[in-house]
């Protein structure tokens, strides 16, 4: 049986290993290699330290499999993933559509994903809230929010 905690520790170990490899590609100015402290010093120290800690964690997980605390069953992965997709979509549509349509659509989609089915709430609340927020931010506080299609 796979020890999930050990897998997580191994993934993090791989991450620190990749960071260590990435350190070698940090450019240095001539002469910096011999300096006491260079732009590579801190990342290198952290990559080594992190990798050592992950190995220790890996050993801990393998020596005490009974302490594996993670149970990944019973979670609502679908809705969580859909919310993440909604956030990505919000980021993609924000500039082209503009703040007001993108935010109203984002809130509406969020409500829908989480099970809200009342049409009035799904449509009116996001639009009214977004317009009020937009007015406060742009007119009262003078902050910029991408106008998008509303700019004409």
């Amino acid at each position: 049986m796979i020890n999930r905690d050990a897998v997580a520790a191994f993934v993090l170990f791989a991450g620190f290993l990749a960071m260590g490899l990435g350190v070698t590609s940090i450019e240095l100015f001539p002469g910096q290699e011999t300096e006491v402290f260079s732009p590579r010093t801190m990342p290198a120290a952290l990559a080594i330290g992190g990798a050592i800690l992950c190995v220790l964690r890996l050993v801990q997980c393998l020596r005490h499999p009974e302490q594996a605390l993670v149970a990944l069953g019973g979670f609502d992965w679908t809705r969580t993933a859909m919310l993440c997709v909604t956030m990505i979509g919000y980021g993609l549509l924000f500039e082209p559509l503009g703040f007001v349509p993108a935010t109203a659509a984002f809130l509406c989609a969020g409500f829908f994903v989480l099970g809200e089915r009342r049409i009035l709430l799904l449509t009116l609340l996001p639009v009214v809230f977004t317009l009020v927020f937009w007015l406060i931010m742009t007119r009262l506080l003078g902050l910029y929010l991408a106008p998008g299609i509303l700019a004409g």
Binding site: D5, A8, L12, F16, M19, G22, I26, E27, L28, F29, Q32, V36, F37, S38, P39, T41, M42, P43, L46, A47, G49, G50, L53, C54, L56, R57, Q60, Q67, L69, V70, L72, G74, F75, D76, W77, R79, T80, L83, C84, M87, I88, Y90, G91, L92, F94, E95, T103, F106, L107, G110, F111, L114, G115, E116, L121, M137, L141, G142, L143, Y144
Partner: protein, 499 residues
């Protein structure tokens, strides 16, 4: 001094100035509640409004906004686990679990009272010892700062609950590693940017805090199928919890607030150290001092765990005015904006401010105290209304939390790339949390990472790679001893418990 205090009170008690401090507190609280618009943004927004005011009135308004924004940040930390500013991250550790367990009102009341007390003690210390402390703060050098940051990092020990020491340490290193992304501050070399211009400036604190705290928490409630929040009472209304604190709670709060306020003020006096380190140090200190039974409550709604960082945070904010008013050196981003504002009003902060503009000097100090008082009077009655936010059904509350977190970060960078990065970090945070890796050490490592690297570089260059500063500089030596003591406290406790 007494004449100055009397003159400060006379200026402040003018009806216009009273109205200004009140308006500032209200505006600051509302602005501070929105992630992304912390004290810096709130004060910057006020500068154009105050151009026509006399300097004393303008600074009175600013002080109100400043404290209001800090309290507003604490409110969003407690209610929705969204610390909009670094100084309120530690507030969320116990404030949010308290709100989730149906004690949102109690948590907000503790935060308001702790903030008020911290600000009051800070203002008293500021009145008494500002000039002397300014000289002391200047004597701190890079090695001392480095040791102070490492002492701050030792607060990680507070988050390493039983059997999770390695996870806490790994999370700290991940936070430190994330702080190295972007342009290296000393040489200007790009690190881990993968050729992306969006990463040249690195990852912002706000982005990481919102992703790992607010976004990941909101998504976790969906993931865990939390149908009803545990804070909801009968009829779907939130169980607000009493606003009245019990004698036991006051007894727990009082010593924690006293200690943390003094600690916070002195840390705040040091330029660059600020409210964040003060709040983490206070949290770590209180946990270390707490008896074993109370220690277990930390992270699960401890009264001491909430009141300590809140009071330290506010006291540190007051302390940060010491170098500003007496030396003209801004010790934090917020005081830097205030310095700019003061100069634009024709007032030059520094050693001569006390002589040339005593009305401004004392008005600022008195208005700080008064701002705290107004905040307490204003916020206690508002708490039931603020806590009602939690009564929103989950299907509405979660998308709003996601929206406020995303837009808060966007309003700082105006770059939609950050929205994608935030989503990525939120997903990573969910996995880390599922595997019992705590988020607090990660954010602590991230906050301190840049400062540690900066001071480590200067120190090693200054001492030619030697660690001699540890015993050659008395301040560094004392802080190093303190750090060792903090780290050894759990070990000593374990040894003492064994027969």
């Amino acid at each position: 001094m007494w004449e100055g205090i009397a003159s400060g009170f006379t200026t402040l008690l003018a009806p216009v100035n009273l109205l200004l401090v009140f308006t500032g507190c209200v505006a600051g609280t509302l602005i501070g509640m929105l992630p992304g618009l912390g004290p810096i943004s709130a004060i910057a927004l006020m500068i154009p409004i105050t151009y026509g005011f006399d300097p004393a009135s303008a600074m009175i308004l600013m002080a109100g906004v400043y404290y209001g924004a800090i309290f507003g940040g604490s409110t969003s930390s407690i209610l929705i686990n969204a610390p909009g500013v670094a100084g309120t991250v530690a507030t969320a550790f116990d404030g949010y679990p308290m709100a989730q367990s149906g004690r949102a009102g109690t948590a907000l009341a503790i935060a308001a009272i702790a903030s008020f007390t911290g600000g009051t003690i800070g203002a008293l210390l500021l009145m008494m010892a500002a000039p002397a402390l300014a000289t002391v703060s200047l004597s701190f050098q890079s090695p001392d700062y480095l040791m102070l940051m490492i002492l701050g990092l030792s607060a990680v020990a507070s988050f390493a609950s039983k059997g999770r020491v390695l996870q806490a340490l790994i999370a700290t290193v991940i936070g430190l590693a994330l702080s190295t992304i972007g342009t290296d501050p000393s040489a200007g070399v790009q690190r881990f940017t993968f050729g992306s211009l969006d990463l040249v400036d690195g990852i912002s604190f706000l982005l990481l805090a919102m992703a790992t705290f607010a976004l990941s928490e909101a998504l976790m409630t969906v993931l865990r199928r939390d149908v009803d929040r545990s804070g909801a009472g009968e009829g779907g209304r939130p169980a607000l919890g009493s606003l009245k604190l019990s004698r036991e709670q006051v007894g727990q709060m009082a010593p924690a607030v006293g200690r943390s306020s003094v600690l916070g003020f002195f840390v705040g006096v040091l330029p660059g150290a600020g409210a964040t380190i003060a709040s983490f140090l206070a949290y770590g200190m209180e946990r270390a001092l707490a008896p074993a039974g109370e220690q277990r409550k930390f992270g699960h709604g401890s009264v001491r765990g909430l009141s300590a960082p809140e009071s330290a945070n506010n006291a540190a904010c007051t302390g940060s005015f010491v170098p500003l008013l007496t030396l003209g050196i801004p010790g934090s981003g917020t005081t830097a904006v205030m310095l700019g504002a003061l100069i634009s009003y024709g007032v030059q902060p520094g050693p001569l401010l006390y002589q040339d503009n005593p009305d401004v000097f004392w008005s600022i100090i008195i208005s700080m105290y008064f701002g705290n008082l107004i905040l307490l009077v204003l916020n206690l009655p508002l708490i039931p209304y603020l806590a009602r936010l939690l009564s929103l059904p989950r299907q509405l509350l979660v998308p709003f939390i996601l929206f406020f977190s995303l837009i808060g970060v966007y309003l700082v960078s105006f770059n939609t790339f950050d929205i994608h990065v935030m989503t990525g970090f939120a997903v990573a945070a969910i996995f880390l949390r599922l595997f019992q890796y705590p988020m607090a050490p990660l954010i602590l490592g991230f906050i301190l990472g840049g400062m540690i690297e900066d001071n480590l570089q200067r120190t090693l260059t200054l001492y030619d790679g030697s660690l001699a500063f540890l015993w050659e500089r008395p301040v560094s030596f004392v802080i190093a001893i303190l750090t060792v003591l903090v780290l050894l406290t759990p070990v000593i406790r374990i040894i003492r418990r064994k027969p």
